[in-house]
Amino acid sequence: MSEPIRTVDVAVIGGGPAGLAAAASAAREGADVLLIDRNPQLGGILNQCIHDGFGLHAFGEVLTGPEFADRYVRSAREAGVRLQTHTLVTRLTPERDLICSRIGHRETVRTRATVLAMGCRERTRGMIRIPGTRPAGVYTAGTAQWLTNIGNIRIGRRVVILGSGDIGLIMARRLKWEGAEVVAVIEKLPYPSGLPRNINQCLLDYDIPLYLSHSVTRIHGGNRVERVTVARFDESGCVVAGSEFDLSCDTLLLSVGLIPENELSRQAGVVLDQRTRGAEVADTYMTNIPGVFSCGNVLHIHDLADWAAEEGDRAGAEAARYATVAAPGEIKPSVAIRPGNGVRYVVPQRANVADQRVLLSFRVTAPSGATTIRAVAGEHIVGELRLRKAHPATMEQLEIQLRDEVHDVEVTCV
């Protein structure tokens, strides 16, 4: 049976902040753009992020998640992007064909360029291997957020939160407002993972205790969570003997990290970076597959949606240029960009020396006070950034100036 095939200049997979911004930007560059999202509504995870703090960088004002999403949906629509919801891309071929599925319909979309903007998923109980029984009442923080803010479902009455990521902190306050008791937030690292403002307005305001250097070592309960065992961890990551105590609760939320969702990319043969778990990209955000670009949380986990959208904006413009410029030659990026001492990862991982200025996004490995980040190519310093304080929870950006000589770039904390 032959399937209908249509052709577009640029297809964007995923209608969150990065995908919407990429689609709008590609359309403004003159490309014929199709954005595909599996959900009934556009905006991605922003729709359940009803708290404020979005938009300061992108719009100079403080917006809630849904308002921030609405701005991008409008600008994509105004730019002429075709927005297709309820549609799941089940496969991306190395030739950039998208196999799309929606109820009662299957079609192939042939693309000159494809932008991957599928976002990320939360780490689950299975991924962090908490021992114990398997009762109901264990949720990832984002699932709890969906159930509370979209589903109007009460998830529990006595809640322990493992992990101090921002979603967990926001949910601590949210559940408190919904009448639940939030017993504690438990963080295995000696410092919080979320933004300091969320520690202040979500935990301190409501006297919710934060246990640093602690983790949940066992879940107890039959049909429903009854309690969790918490223990202190030393610097080498071992349980401190005798430090265990139990907290009674009916619900455990996990806010223990996000993983880029790269199923489609992997199937298509996109090479992933072990550090980011996102694609390895050139400074054009193009992956190893010609014409396939990546941006937003599917490329690397961002701290703010504003930065994910801004990255989408740049990637979308590059994708449009690739799709509309006649016979794009395969550009071989000529230098590698690597993280060095004190730096966890750097994106992009490659750059063409002909592109003189390159914007790097990176994270440091450990918190510290004032520090200098330096990008070095051979003998030359090609970029430097002074930070008042460095924290792994914050994504930092540094612009480097490439020289004509071909030297790999290393980014380090000095």
Binding site: P40, Q41, N47, I50, H51, D52, G53, L56, V62, L63, T64, G65, P66, E67, D70, N149, I150, G151, N152, R174, W177, L195, P196, R197, I199, N200, Q201, D205, D303, L304, K389
Partner: protein
């Protein structure tokens, strides 16, 4: 002199403020160190005298494609007023369609601040709820 450190919550920068003040905190006596912008001073004074917070929550919607519409106070309100506003919102049920900016509750709990919709909810037709 009194001294306190606090994290400014007005934006994601989350500046670590070192705040010093004399007897009674007021614009004349409070000084702030560590802020990236002038809002840091305003925040510190408010925090010492009457902490202000923006409320973001949701209210029920009848006949909509969603069960809830997210809402916010248009500006920050006294933190002490949050419970009264939340409780006033609990008794409200909107009717779809609602649009971003629709006023849900005017002068919420006497704060002089309105609560408005932050997410549009269109009217449900025959399709199932999502």
């Amino acid at each position: 002199m009194n001294e306190r450190t606090m994290t400014c919550i007005l934006c994601p920068n989350g500046c670590e403020l070192r705040v010093t003040w004399a007897e009674e905190p007021s614009p004349a006596t409070v000084s702030v160190d560590g802020n990236l912008c002038p809002k840091g001073l305003t925040y510190a004074i408010d925090e010492l005298t009457h902490p202000m917070r923006t409320l973001t929550t949701s209210v029920r919607v009848r006949d909509g494609i969603q069960r809830l519409a997210s809402v916010k106070t248009t500006t920050a309100i006294p933190r002490d007023a949050l419970p009264a506003v939340r409780s006033a919102l609990r008794s409200i049920e909107l009717r779809a369609p609602v649009a971003i900016g629709d006023v849900v509750l005017a002068d919420a709990a006497g704060t002089g601040v309105d609560v408005v919709v932050t997410r549009a909810v269109s009217k449900r037709t025959n399709e199932a709820m999502t």
